[in-house]
Every structure is written in structure tokens, then in C-alpha cells.
Amino acid sequence: MAFRLYTRLVALSTAVLIFAGGLVTSTGSGLSVPDWPNTYGHFMFTFPLDKMVGGIRFEHSHRLIASTVGFLILVLAVWLWRAEPRAWVRRLGYIALAAVIAQGILGGITVLWYLPEPISIAHASLAQIVFCLTTAIALVTSRGWTHRTTALPSDDDVLRKLTIVTTGWIYVQVLIGATMRHTDAGLAIPDFPLAFGHLIPPHWDPKIAIHFAHRVGALVTSLLIVATAGHVFYHHRGRGELVRPVVLLLALLTAQVTLGAYTVLTEKHYIINSLHVVTGASVLVTSLVLALRAHRSRFASVDGFGGSAVEGTAIRRNQPHAAVVGGPSVPNRPGARA
């Protein structure tokens, strides 16, 4: 129980970190602390609070939250390493740890090299991957995933493909958004929903092209999400584990499009802009949850279910000799701690 709550806390803290990162770029505070990993010569955690003024408030807070999230993920990885019977889930923990460390290094490089666009875009893009990893870990260690009380549903190839395409596309859209953000193209088209009063911009430059690509991407994302939702409502109305994320996805999409419009109309108000960033990340991970659940039966074999639906199946932690209850046993892992 404590572990499950902890995984959710880690996923939530990653979302908070993305919001804090959004505030840094939205306020143009990325270089307000010139040094890294120190802050104005102070060790990060001993930097005086009364010195947190102007842009330093955003940048230094981001660093503190990032360090906290990094520590939380380190604990998560260790916890998985010691207690998780499924090798692929343990690997997710290691990957999340490596990703968050790489993320910290990218954050440092982008400060020391004065925010080069490719590094800043990579930093923003990897943040989404870290959020996906912590969310995936929270999902696959959740009671709903590990303790099945009902048979696994039959395969739905259409839903699988739809959720993969949708999630993949949302990530592409996030990348375009990160590119727009870090190339200062957020107001390249100053009106909304039209572009310079037209459906298609009457003139082009690289920034307008990036901005317009993000708008077209939003349209494609909306169509994909609506199609996925329609499929779930029509074919899987009784499956709460699919309907719930679809409803959340539709709500987040509505919020995200509204925030996108307000970002332009408020000339990138920093709160609106940052909410747009974190809501976009939430759309991505919600779609990922839906995709993973749509692939649930595929995980049966790697989870130790033997590849088929079983009643009352549960993965038990800290049981080296009988990792799966009600299903085939999983070989004991030499390194696993009871």
C-alpha cells in the first residue's frame, strides 16, 4: 500500500516539476542563475531564501524541485530493485533513474551553454519521458494492474493500434510545442483561431511554420483522441479502466486547447503558458495509461500470467518462490530481497 502511494507521489511530483520548468521558460528566467550546480556560489540547498528574488525564484525553485524528484526516483528505483519481482518493471525503475539524471545534466548544460535550442528542446522532451516512466511505474504496480479480480478482456487490435498512434502523435505534438517554446515562436502567429486573419498564414518564416505546425498538430491530436474515445465508448462501455482515462483525456484535451488559445490571446501569460505545458504532459500520460491498459493482456506473459486471462490473479511482492498467485510461478531472482 505504501509503495503504491509512493509511486503515485513520484508521478505527481514529476508533473509539479514540469509545471515548475514551464514557469522558468515562461518567465524567461532560465539564465537568472548563471552557475550550475551551485546557485550564486552557494551549495544548492543552502542558498538563502531571502536571496530568491526576481527570476531566481523560478529557476532556483525548479532546481530544488528537480533535485527532490531525482531523489524520489532514486528511492523508487532502489525500492523496485529490492522488492519488485518482475524484471521488466525493475528495468523501468533503472531507466527512470537514468532518465532523470540525464535530465538534470541536460538542465545544467543548457544553463552553462546559455540555453542552446537543441539542448533546451531535448531537456523539455526528456521531461515528458520521465513523466511517462513514473506514470507507467505507478500504473503497472497499482492494485488494478497486479491484482486482477476479473478475466483479462479479449484482444482489441483496433484499440491497441489507435492508442499507440494517439500516444505517439501526442508525443510528437509535445516535441513541436517544445520547439515552438524554445525558438520563441509562441506568438509568431498573434491571433487565434485564425492565423493573421486567414485559415492558412498568408506569409511564412521558420517561426510561423513551427507555430502553425503546433496548431495543425493540435487538430490531429484532437481527432485522434475523439476517435479513440468514440471507439472505447462504442465497444468497451462497460470497462471502467478504459472509460475513465478516456473521459479524463477528453477533459484534459478541452482544457489544453483552451489554454493554448489563451496562451496566444494573453500574449503568453506565464501562468497560462505553464499550465499549457503541464496539461499537455498530462494528456500524454493519460493516453499512455489508456494504451498500456489496452495492451494489458500482452503483459500477461511478462507479468507471469502465462499469457491468458485468469481469475483472481495477483502479483505478490517479496515472494521469491511464488511471485504470482493464481498463475504460473516466476523463477526466483537471485538478487531479490525478501
Binding site: 539564465l31 548563471p34 550564486y40 556560489g41 526576481g54 525564484r57 537514468a98 551553454w113 546559455y114
Partner: protein
């Protein structure tokens, strides 16, 4: 066999070491121009003087909100300095300089430093000129944190921390460049512009909009006036022996 956990930590440590190595690379110091005697004969040198004006309605001065820093909030309230218009529509903070016409002359680099201060949570002065190889002394008179972030296109970018009042850093530019924006990312309203030239014939207009370029050898010159919001204008001016030419620039608002 090492555990995956140890491998992750080791891999990241190696990555950090590589990054630290890459970050520790210092750019070579800019090469100083050879100091030569002033190639201008004072007996024949002339002067270009003039005034810069604004044609049209001056934008209303906007007061700066400095409440994101308690120290800055206590400072005298100031208006934005992007367009400062004096009486008779004269325009302040215009960088006027000889853009072309000096040929291959090489001018000595002044030994004195040019000072850019951070005072009252503003850069003082807002616009300034300096020669390649001359020392720029960046001070902080403020008892708060500032970062000094120069964003050149031709010179090396830098971002330095000024965490104490009285702190001083120096910098030398290696290449001529008009203009280099400076900003403080802590205090978004703080910005300045530095014009870097390989000769001493530049000036920044004051409250009366006037400028003076003294000690020019006789010849024909392209003179440019640069303003941060209103753009640039150029004029061709010819001066003879000991002659003074008076010109004017007018920017449209």
C-alpha cells in the same frame, strides 16, 4: 557482476565527468590589437556634430514595476528607457558612429576602462560604446543579486553572477559589433546595449539629443545612428581639414 542499479549510477557519473570536462573549456582571450600611434593628424582633424530627433508622437513613458525584488522595489521609480524623448523632440540613447570611411587605419586602444554599473536595479548607462580590446568594467552598486548576460552575435556570449554590492568584473571584446544586448535575467526590465568598434569615433546622444564625433581625419564617412526600438539611419558626410560638419537624424515614431 554489477547490478543494473550500479551500472546506471556509474554511467551517469561518467556522463557528468564528460560534461564537466566539456564545460571547463575556456575560450582563448581575445587578441589585442597592436597599439600604434594615433594615425590622425590633429592639425587637420575635423568634427562631425549633430542632433537626433523624433518625428511624431513620442510613446508614453511606462513606469517599471520592480516588485519582484524587495530591494528593487525600494529604489526610485523609473520609466522604461527604450524611447526617451527630450524637449524639442530630441532623442536620447542613440548610438551614433562612423560605420565606414576610415580605411585601414588602426587606432590605439584606450587604457581607461568603460564602466557599466548596476545601480538602482538599472544599467547605467543604458547605451554605451567601447573599443575592441578596451576593458569593460561591470560593477554592481546594488545590494541584491544580478546576473549580467551579454548576448552578442560576433563576440563570445557570457553570463556572470553579481551577488554582492561593490563586486566588479571585467570583460574585453574581441570583435567589433553594433550592438550587443545586455540583460539581467533576474530583473526582466534591466537591459543595456553596448556598441563595440575598432575606432574611437562614436557617441551616445544625451538628453538634448546631441552628439559629437571629434578628431576625424578629413574624408568621406558613412555615419550611422542606431536606436534600440526605432532602427538605424545612415548618412554620408564629407569633412575637410579642421572642418566641422553638423548633421541631423530624424526617426519616425
Amino acid at each position: 557482476m554489477r547490478s543494473p542499479f550500479v551500472r546506471v549510477i556509474t554511467g551517469c557519473a561518467v556522463g557528468l565527468a564528460l560534461v564537466a570536462g566539456a564545460c571547463s573549456k575556456e575560450e582563448p582571450p581575445p587578441t589585442q590589437s597592436a597599439v600604434v600611434a594615433n594615425p590622425v593628424d590633429p592639425a587637420t582633424a575635423g568634427t562631425i556634430t549633430g542632433v537626433v530627433k523624433l518625428d511624431g508622437k513620442a510613446p508614453a513613458a511606462q513606469s517599471i514595476t520592480m516588485d519582484s525584488d524587495p530591494y528593487c522595489e525600494k529604489q526610485p521609480k523609473n520609466a522604461t528607457e527604450s524611447v526617451v524623448v527630450g524637449s524639442d523632440s530630441t532623442l536620447q540613447n542613440v548610438f551614433v558612429y562612423v560605420k565606414d570611411g576610415l580605411g585601414n587605419r588602426v587606432f590605439p586602444v584606450p587604457a581607461s576602462a568603460v564602466v557599466l554599473d548596476q545601480k538602482g536595479c538599472r544599467y547605467v548607462p543604458h547605451v554605451l560604446g567601447i573599443q575592441v580590446g578596451q576593458t569593460l568594467e561591470i560593477l554592481s552598486s546594488d545590494d541584491t543579486l544580478h546576473n549580467v548576460h551579454a548576448i552578442p552575435q560576433q563576440n563570445r556570449e557570457f553570463n556572470m553572477a553579481h551577488q554582492l554590492a561593490g563586486i566588479k568584473h571585467t570583460h574585453v571584446f574581441s570583435t567589433k559589433e553594433v550592438m550587443i544586448p545586455f540583460k539581467c535575467d533576474v530583473h526582466k526590465w534591466m537591459n543595456a546595449f553596448v556598441g563595440v568598434l575598432d575606432h574611437p569615433f562614436y557617441a551616445v546622444t544625451t538628453g538634448n539629443g546631441r552628439f559629437e564625433l571629434k578628431g576625424l581625419p578629413p574624408g568621406t564617412y558613412t555615419v550611422e545612428a542606431w536606436h534600440e526600438k526605432l532602427g538605424t539611419q545612415t548618412q554620408t558626410v564629407t569633412i575637410g581639414d579642421k572642418q566641422t560638419s553638423d548633421i541631423s537624424f530624424t526617426f519616425k515614431s
